[in-house]
């Protein structure tokens, strides 16, 4: 099968799938066919709602689907690396696929970024190619393809990866939005300015304490604002508050993730 035939077959089949686990299987197969070892398809938001059973997607909260080593996913979420991952930050600076070796041309790389990269390598993920998936008015996202330690990037298949990444993200996105009942998506109206500021920093992965430091208010006040925003949207988690604010265009994505 030619490279393009493989992409076409992937796109056709991805459209017929309804379950995130099926999409994971399909994407895993083409990831390996392209010569990568792992993939991660994610919205760049607080990933604490992630569950291995993928209920976070079936309940319509966010796209987070992948085959990275489980121990690394756990560390990644526990340490909230999503907020400062140089790969994801670089993906906010472009709309086309890039090799991780090009990250320094996209963002200023800090000591903290180098440390994250080292930890990624230690976890067995050496190099990669990231396809940004930015949709106006929604959380930024990306499809990341990676190779295991000491394996070379499959440079001949990057064009293929560009297309597969873009179509895969849309397939995952459609699952999440279709799973999210229309009723729950009814527009709830704006948050207050203070609530918005707190939600914006929460979207950037800041803790209540950090938000308090930035805004010059107490941790308890921050907690109350986010709690009020949660009640306003009638949702149960902090992550859902962020998603709702993003969905309703209350906070800008580019700003939130800058």
């Amino acid at each position: 099968m030619s490279r393009f035939d493989a992409v076409q077959a992937f796109v056709d089949e991805a459209r017929t799938l309804h379950r995130p686990s099926e999409l994971r299987g399909l994407l895993d197969a083409i990831t390996k066919e392209m010569g990568f070892d792992y993939f991660a398809l994610i919205h760049h938001v607080d990933l604490s709602g992630y569950s291995e059973a993928l209920t976070h997607m079936e309940e319509g909260e966010l796209v987070a689907l992948g085959t990275y080593p489980e121990s690394w996913i756990e560390r990644y979420i526990a340490d909230n690396i999503v907020a400062n991952d140089p790969v994801l930050l670089a993906s906010h600076r472009t709309n086309v696929g890039f090799c991780w070796s090009d990250i320094p041309t996209l963002i200023p790389v800090t000591e903290a970024h180098r440390e994250i990269r080292e930890r990624t390598v230690m976890a067995g993920i050496d190099d990669g190619f990231t396809v940004p998936a930015h949709v106006p008015g929604e959380a930024n996202g990306s499809c990341n393809f990676a190779v295991a330690t000491a394996r070379a990037l499959p440079y001949d298949n990057l064009k293929m990866a560009q297309l597969v990444g873009g179509f895969a993200f849309q397939a995952a996105r459609a699952m999440v939005f279709n799973a999210f009942p229309q009723v729950k998506r009814a527009i709830k109206g704006p948050l207050t300015q203070r609530q918005l500021e707190c939600v914006l920093y929460a979207a950037k992965g800041k803790s209540d304490w950090e938000i308090g430091q930035i805004l010059g208010i107490s941790q308890g006040t921050v907690k109350r604002h986010i709690e009020d925003a949660r009640a306003h949207y009638e949702v149960s988690s902090r992550m859902q508050v962020v998603m709702r604010a993003l969905f309703e265009g209350q906070i800008g994505l580019v700003d939130a993730l800058r």
Binding site: S2, R3, F4, V7, Q8, V11, D12, R15, T94, N95, V96, G97, P132, A133, H134, V135, P136, G137, E138, G141, K159, M160, Q162, L163, G166, F167, F169, Q170, R173, A174, F177, R185
Partner: protein
């Protein structure tokens, strides 16, 4: 207004058509830096001929806000004449396939999304009226995620290649019976948004 402009009614809207070519020059040449021919501040090419038709969204004074150009695929068009390398499979051609080119949107984000959605509805309405089964287009990879987010059935026609230094690929957007229903919520227009007017176009005749 959202007008369908073609050979039959083109001369009725000279100001609107000129403002479209001016905006195209500003966007494609001055801002995107595409290597396109232009004259007197207006961008036009060999495909802006008698067989081209346009979907043009205009303001109250009938000045151009946003537009696209439809080309017939049973005649020379961009995919077959300029970018044939973008199709790995056969180039889709036929009386029920149009090529969408020269998508020209406002720069301000808020205006851009509103105009995009009005054009998208116009594209779907036009397909229903003119019997278009699918559209082909050259899509810059920077725009792919946004294009797919509309929810309509979109398939690739080939692997992306670099055009003027930026990767672009050919895509086909299928107009199926369920396309209007598939359209994503953030691609829909408010009810008051203008709908396609075929006033004195070929289609109306």
């Amino acid at each position: 207004m959202l007008r369908l402009i073609d050979r039959r009614n083109l001369e009725e809207f000279p100001g609107l058509v000129r403002s479209m070519h001016r905006d195209r020059k500003r966007l494609f040449v001055d801002i995107f830096r595409w290597e396109l021919s232009h004259k007197n501040g207006e961008e036009r090419d060999a495909f802006d001929d008698d067989d081209a038709s346009y979907l043009v969204f205009s303001d109250d004074a009938d000045r151009h806000i946003a537009s696209i150009r439809f080309l017939r695929t049973d005649r020379p068009h961009l995919l077959d004449s300029v970018f044939p390398e973008l199709c790995d499979a056969a180039i889709p051609r036929g009386p029920d396939i149009r090529e969408i080119t020269r998508l020209c949107l406002p720069l301000r984000k808020r205006d851009r999304i509103a105009a995009r959605n009005i054009l998208a509805r116009g594209i779907i309405d036009y397909a229903a009226i003119a019997g278009v089964a699918s559209y082909t287009a050259v899509c810059h990879m920077t725009f792919l995620s946004e294009l797919l987010s509309a929810g309509w059935r979109c398939t690739p026609l080939g692997l992306p290649e670099s055009i003027n230094g930026a990767p672009a690929g050919a895509v086909q957007i299928h107009m199926d019976d369920d396309t209007p229903g598939l359209l994503a919520a953030n691609w829909r227009c408010p009810s008051a948004a203008p709908r396609l007017s075929q006033h004195r176009s070929d289609l109306a005749a």
